[in-house]
Symmetry: C2
Subunit: 368 residues, 2 copies
């Protein structure tokens, strides 16, 4: 079998293009929105008080200039970009093993979140049985959402050992084929189609200019690695964003240490970003030629950004979705980089809003 480093070499822009051709009939071309109010806020220097207690205390706050382009994957099917990877992985599986075999065995995954619903939707659309192992403590709306696409939900304990044991038990009975949530070539190529689409939409809106940069959340790293793969032969710079709470910034820390962090245990409000970066994903993201840097933000910064997106932009997002914008607003290190490299012109910068699967009760808990 190919090593992760060898596999990573096959992750090319044309692999993403091929994924797009396959999945296009099944996914939404989500809108790329602008918001002058957020441009203005992000292009205003932070107050000197905001820098107190940071390495930039006492220095002149940066004056970056941003023109944002928001890729609204919260409006994607099942409310998150995960639909792209799930459709792609399943369509490839059918291509490789034949429709009859895949339909006979079915597919299986373990997830309490967006990947569960995405695989359930892809499977029901393509007529394939799906088994989704979910921790029994999953919220009822997520269980109902997964079931509403016709998937069979099997409950397990909440640790990854318990979940994986249950997957093996089901596989022993059904021969169901595992579709992993992020650490997978086809999943990464599927998520990368987000980049291809937003680049085309940017060209429609901004004319012949080159998009300066894009930032995405980093959880397992499928989205960021896919986007970085697509832009790897272009001038657009790719950045990643993570929550810092309880070590959720495993990717950022791994890059500093020169070694992937293998386990994370965090309850950050960015609940889609609680996993460590996958092995194949790490091969892409730790490649400086593909991803220029990963930055981390606090829970309070995520909340403040969510408030702005909801109240000012009027778009409903989940906390995980806004970490990229939070970096642009609050990370002084990143803001200095944009001031330095963007100069008077500033940057045209795409922000990927990864999903919108939250509830009014969760919003109430955050802000009540």
């Amino acid at each position: 079998m190919a090593s992760p480093a060898e596999k990573a070499q096959s992750l090319t822009p044309s692999a993403v293009q091929a994924a797009y051709t396959l999945i296009q009939p099944y996914v939404h071309r989500t809108p790329l929105l602008t918001c002058k109010t957020l441009d203005t806020i992000a292009s205003t220097p932070q107050t000197p008080e905001a820098l107190v207690g940071t390495p930039f205390e006492g220095q002149t706050p940066a004056r970056p200039k941003f023109r944002f382009f928001f890729k609204c994957e919260n409006l994607q099917r099942i409310g998150a970009f995960k639909a792209r990877g799930a459709f792609h992985a399943l369509l490839r599986l059918i291509e490789e093993r034949g429709e009859e075999e895949v339909k006979r065995h079915g597919v299986i995954t373990h997830s309490s979140g967006n990947h569960a619903q995405a695989l359930a939707l892809a499977a029901s659309t393509l007529g394939v049985p799906a088994y989704i192992v979910m921790p029994s403590i999953s919220t009822s709306s997520k269980i109902a959402g997964t079931r509403s696409h016709g998937a069979e939900v099997i409950f397990s304990g909440s640790t990854s050992v318990e979940r994986e044991a249950m997957v093996e038990e089901i596989q022993a009975k059904t021969n169901a084929i595992l579709v992993p949530p992020y650490d997978d070539f086809n999943i990464i190529c599927g998520q990368g189609t987000t980049a291809l689409e937003l680049e085309a939409q940017y060209a429609e809106q901004a004319g012949s200019k080159t998009l300066d940069a894009v930032i995405t959340p980093v959880g397992g790293g499928g989205l960021n690695a896919g986007v970085a793969t697509y832009f790897s032969d272009k001038k657009t710079k790719v950045f990643g964003a993570e929550p810092s709470f309880e070590g959720a910034d495993d990717c950022r820390r791994g890059l500093l240490a020169g070694k992937r962090v293998e386990a994370v245990s965090t309850l950050t409000i960015g609940d889609g970003l609680r996993t460590p970066v996958g092995v194949l994903n790490w091969e892409v993201i730790s490649n400086k030629k593909k991803v220029e840097g990963v930055f981390a933000v606090t829970e309070e910064q995520i909340k403040a950004t969510m408030r702005l997106v909801l109240e000012r932009m009027k778009v409903f997002v989940e906390p995980s979705a806004v970490v990229g914008l939070a970096v642009c607003l609050f990370d002084e290190d990143f803001r200095r980089l944009v001031e330095r490299e963007g100069g008077d012109q500033g940057w045209d910068m795409a922000i990927v809003f990864s999903g919108g699967n939250t509830t009014v009760e969760a919003i109430s808990k955050l802000f009540g």
Copy 2:
């Protein structure tokens, strides 16, 4: 002076068209969105239990078919359709009295809500001083929003007597010209441009079909009367929606009694809909040839609809914005009408989301 009935005769589609020509450079062409999930939910019969305690108890629930087109005025400038009317009223004022005179006197209004911010924006854009009388109990974000457009905010008591006394006091000093929030020819024509725009967008999306119906919230009635004016020579049916809480359904009750209800005192969560319908607005809305009917929904129905729009459609709206959709989802009388008139084909129905000016704290209060 012309009577309201005479004035109403000048409210024609071409008056709305003329308003659009004037305001187009100043307002957003807000998107017209679709959402299959909401189509499916609204096209599913209510449960027999949901009809218990209503006049339809024990009867077969209606099976209407809806294809919705959501006109997102929550994405309009200042977050509500009110920007249309305010720009139109002020541009006409300048046309009629001359720029010099209007700039010398300035404009004035009293409002604690979206009209205050809309007039403040229009005035600052056109270089006219604006005085906005706001109750001193107004929320700080609304005061800040109004001030951010450069308007002078003057505080008053919260009753309409106190507010109007303050307006007169300021007018005595400044000669500022009053721009009323809804009961006004130019305001109505301005709000009516929402209809013109959504009809054109519907044609782009749906081809040569005719839009079957449109429903808007009814507070002071500027939006509904404007939309009804625009569609008055077309086949598209116009409906209105109100909260029923504490008599906020003054328009619906007035239509039943054959007489405008002149005063309302309600604290419905649809805080943009707490005012009685204006005199000129009533002339339009009570004309059966222009508005086919006005329906009312409960606070719980408004909340349930808001949850669906936020969680499923991922669009951030204020409670007032969703009363039209709530009627489609919950008013069995209206649902029967759509089943009867729409038949197997069903209706292509536009829903105007009037605004999105709420806060995460307000959401927390509603659902926490």
